[in-house]
Each structure stands twice: as structure tokens, then as C-alpha cells.
Amino acid sequence: MNKKVLRYLVFILLAAVILSIPGVMPNNYYRGLANLSLIYVIVALGLNFIYGYTGYISFAQAAFFGIGAYTTALLGVDHHISFWLALPLSGIMASLFGVLIGIPSLKLTGHYLAMATIGFGIIVQMLMQNWTSFTHGATGVGNIPGISLGGFTISSASQYYYFLLFFVVLSILVTWSIEHSNLGRSFKAVREDEIAAATSGINLTFTKVFSFALSAFFAGIAGGLYASMSAYISPDTFSFDQSIVFFTMVLIGGAGTMLGPVIGAILLTFVPELLRFMKEYYMALFGIGIVLIMIFIPQGIVNVFAKDGQFAEWITAKRTARVESPQKDL
């Protein structure tokens, strides 16, 4: 059996596993969890643009996720606008805020940027909680209309799974094509050496702001999907802690790789749930887990199993340039 056949077999097996998830899951609780992990995959893929590819820290991803969720929710509940119009608007709204935070980032790095994005996230969450006349306040938004597609309404968890899977595949395709475009190469050039990138004719302003906007756009779309799927959202979902979880997803999976955020998002959605039998201990253990991962596999799971991008080469069956994970001194 040659390598080519083996590769096709692995692909078919993988596709079969992914498609059979709703059938394999024991109950709707786990199906819901699988759906949530798909939404988080989109958020993490977004964050990967700004941190993984461009090398800038953002602790505001939960805020962008929340802005997307609130856009879809408020448009649907208060203005009766269809999901199909609200969803792109969610992405656009989040990316506008991404531009807003991307502009100060032109001057900031390291501690400063981390803190600016944290501050932005906290302000956004506070507005969600306290601006009651606009956001419905701390009680959250309920009765968010579901999704219907040409007379067919998505109702069961399994149907949502395939619907979300479509968006995940789309996100992966978009990520892949951006990674292999001039834009993607500019992102990486900025990450490796800003000054060298600028000398090579890369427009730093555009590249950085666009990367922020793209990150936010993915989070916004994921937020819109999340709001419609759960029918109820509340401000505490979009906290600084959640931003840390998103960031950890990218780090654990492997920043700057395409597969990393996917694996990280799935892992960090399921592992805490599997540890839930430990009740109040699990968040404490989660904290220890983060420290251990930073000590032992800071480069991410994907990079442990495939040094120097061998994994990607194997998947795409072609030699790609060696890409280092972000190690820039920030």
C-alpha cells in the first residue's frame, strides 16, 4: 500500500468520524457540547490570525464573540431581522470593533497591548451588563429566533451539528487560502520581524489592522451562530476569563498552525466537561493544567507531534516552507 492510498484512507476515516459524531454522542447534552466545540473552533481560528500568524496578543476575543452574539440576538429579538441578514452583520460589527482596537495596536506591543485588549473586553462586558435599555442588561437576552433555511427550521442538536460543521469547513477553507496568500505571508513577515517586513514593502498599518479585523470577524460570526443556537445569551459568557480560555485553546493546539486551534478548541471544550465530576475542583485543576502545559508543551500539541510542519506537509502532500511558531520577543 503506497502513501497516497494510505492518505486517502485516513481522510475517509476522519470524514466518517466527524460525520458520525452526533450519532455516537450518548445524549443531547454531549451533542450540545460538540456543537459548542465547533463554534469555539471558529473563534480560535480567528484568534490564530492575530496571535498565531501576526504575532500580536489579544485578550479581547470573548468580547468580539459577545459583540457578534449580541448583534444577532438584538437584531432578531428587538428588530425582527432574519438570521441570514443578522449573521453577516454580526461579523461586520465585530470587525469594526476589531479595527477600533487594531488602530492603537499599531503603537503597542507586549504588556501594553495585552492590557489594552483586556481593558476593551472588560468595558464591553460592562456595557452588556449595565446598558439595560439597549442590551437587556445582566439578565441577558432570551427568545432569540432560531435558524430556518427555505422553509426548513433547524431544531435538533444533530441538525445544528451539520449546520455548524458547514461553517467550520468554510472557516478552515478561508484560513487555508489566506495562509497561502500574499496577505497570509505578510502576517507572518510582520510576526517574524516588523522592520524587515516594512522594508520589503509590506504596509504595516493595513496588515495589522486587517489581521485584528479578521480575528474579530471570525469571532463575530461564531457569536451570531452561538446566539441563534442557544436562543439565550447573557453577559457573563463574554468575560475576560473566557478570552483567556480562547487564548489557551490556540496556545495548547499550536499557534500559527491551522490544525492547532481546531484541536485546542475541541480539547478545551470537552476536557473541562469530562472533569466536571470533580465539581468545584476542576477550575482549580484547570489552572494547574495551564501552568503545566506552559512548562512542558508551550509550542502546542500540533508542533509536538509534527516538528517543522511535517504534519501539514503530510496532509497537503506537498513540501511547504518551514514555519516557526511565534517566538518573537514581545
Binding site: 481593558g119 449595565n130 482549580a284 501552568v291 514581545l330
Partner: protein
């Protein structure tokens, strides 16, 4: 008006102490310790337990809390910093965030979800100055902070240990060449920072209830204060903390109490956008 100013300065003093703890570590090893707020919480809980459960005199409880936190600071740097000292900045930062998550949730398990009231040495007593009554605890906070700042100044300027720590912060390589044991000085810096956190914790306890969540916003706001003041500068951290404390109290009283916690971050973003070296900071030169 005077009461507001005093309580603003008292809260600002707490921010200043926490910010100092963040800045000494940032200067020494270029890492922001996101667990500093939780260290404050830990200091407050330890002192509260010693007084309320073990019935120790309050000053002894304060002293033991500070000593235990010093020990904790040593362990913290051994576990969460030392193995990561060669890793990029973000790896260490995320590790400190992991520690803060652990501490917050472990505290909830050990001490329960109910906030504890832990009175200061003066209880609820008020001092009357010319017709204005002022909470005695607020005065205590301001005086102790002032004393600590003066102590720190002399410690770093005059003592051999302080000078060695400062030399390490300025240039590790040169310090090594001078025969300074750099890793030991870094450990001392972490110990000192944790002791500052304990001091902030016991001072803050009578004003805030002692709870697992008391440190979360405190750490972030102190970090914001240190940036507002000018990150990396000790006077910047102190002035930034005081400024933030006063600003918050007045903004809550005259603008909106609902958004009290937002002002710190709004000012932070404005400062970062328009004067990134802070209100009182030195000029930042980027390494090019």
C-alpha cells in the same frame, strides 16, 4: 468632599501597593504577574483565618500572613517562573494567569463562597477632623503605604541586598559579572512582591469583604494603574495608583456608580492611545 478624597487616596494606596508588586517583577524579569491580585486575596484570607479562627492578636496575624506570603512567593517563582525563564514573554504570562485561576478557585474550595468580614485594628471607628468624620482604616492604609514606599526607597538605595536586586533588574548579565547571584536576587524580588501583596491584602480586608473574587479586578486595575502612571517606573506605579483611586471614587460619586469599574480601563485606553509612556513615566525607547 474631603471624605471622598481620603477614601480615594486609601483605595489608590492599595492600587499603588499592588502595582508596585507588579512593577518590581516586571522590571526584574520582564514578566507581568497576572496573579498579583490573587496574592492580595491570599494575604487577606490568611490573616483573616489566623485572627477569626485561631484567635491570634491582629498584628501577629498580619506579620504571619506577610511571612507566609514571602514563602509562597518563593514557591511561586520556583514553580511558575523558573522553569519558564527562557521562554517568550507570553508563555510566562499565560502561566501566571493559570496560577491566578488556581488560587481563585482553590480559595473558593478552602474558604467557601461566602465573603468574610474581617475588621481592622481600629474596627469601625471614625476620626473626626474639623467636623468631617473619616474612617480610621483609610488613614491607616495611607500611612502604612507611605511608610512602605519610604522603606522601599531606602531598601533599594542603601542596603546591599536592595542594590543587588536593583542591579539584577537593570542588567542581568552585568550583575552576573559583578558576582551577584542573579537567580537568588530574582527569587528575592518575587518574595518581596508577594510580601507587598500580603500587606495590601490585610490593609484592604476591612474595606472590601474577604472573598475569592476580591483580587480579580484589583490585579487588573493595579496593572492599569501602573501603565497609566508609566509602566516600569516606581514613582509612576505609586502616582498612577493614587490617581486611579481618586478618579474612581469621584467618577462613581459624580458620573455613574454603575460604571465605576469601567473608568480605570477607559482612562487606560485613552492613555495608551495618546500618551503611551503614561502620565508620569520616563520615555520608552523601543529596541530597534
Amino acid at each position: 468632599m474631603i471624605q471622598l478624597l481620603i477614601s480615594g487616596l486609601a483605595m489608590g494606596s492599595i492600587y499603588a501597593l499592588v502595582a508596585l508588586g507588579i512593577v518590581v517583577i516586571a522590571n526584574a524579569v520582564n514578566v507581568v504577574n497576572f496573579a498579583q491580585g490573587e496574592n492580595v486575596m491570599l494575604g487577606a484570607y490568611v490573616a483573616a483565618t489566623l485572627t477569626l479562627t485561631l484567635h491570634l492578636p491582629i498584628l501577629a496575624a498580619y506579620a504571619i500572613s506577610i511571612i507566609l506570603l514571602a514563602l509562597y512567593g518563593y514557591i511561586f517563582q520556583k514553580v511558575a517562573y523558573y522553569p519558564l525563564r527562557k521562554k517568550p514573554f507570553i508563555t510566562v504570562v499565560v502561566a501566571t494567569i493559570g496560577v491566578s485561576m488556581f488560587l481563585k478557585n482553590a480559595a473558593r474550595i478552602v474558604w467557601g463562597p461566602q465573603p468574610i468580614y474581617f475588621a481592622g485594628p481600629f474596627g469601625e471607628s471614625m476620626i473626626r477632623v474639623g467636623g468631617v468624620s473619616i474612617n480610621a482604616q483609610n488613614i491607616l492604609i495611607i500611612v502604612v503605604t507611605l511608610a512602605l514606599v519610604v522603606f522601599q526607597h531606602f531598601f533599594f538605595a542603601k542596603t546591599s541586598l536592595g542594590r543587588q536586586m536593583q542591579a539584577t533588574a537593570q542588567d542581568q548579565e552585568a550583575a552576573t559579572l559583578m558576582g551577584i547571584k542573579v537567580s537568588r536576587m530574582i527569587a528575592f524580588t518575587f518574595i518581596y512582591s508577594s510580601m507587598l501583596a500580603a500587606a495590601a491584602g490585610v490593609l484592604l480586608a476591612p474595606i472590601f469583604y474577604v472573598s475569592a473574587d476580591m483580587g480579580a479586578n484589583l490585579g487588573l486595575k493595579a496593572f492599569a494603574a501602573s501603565i497609566i502612571g508609566g509602566f516600569g517606573s516606581v514613582p509612576g506605579a505609586i502616582l498612577g495608583g493614587l490617581f486611579l483611586g481618586v478618579l474612581e471614587i469621584f467618577a462613581a460619586a459624580y458620573v455613574s456608580s454603575l460604571y465605576k469599574d469601567a473608568f480605570a480601563f477607559i482612562v487606560l485606553i485613552l492613555i495608551l492611545a495618546f500618551m503611551p509612556r503614561g502620565l508620569f513615566g520616563e520615555k520608552i525607547s523601543t529596541k530597534v
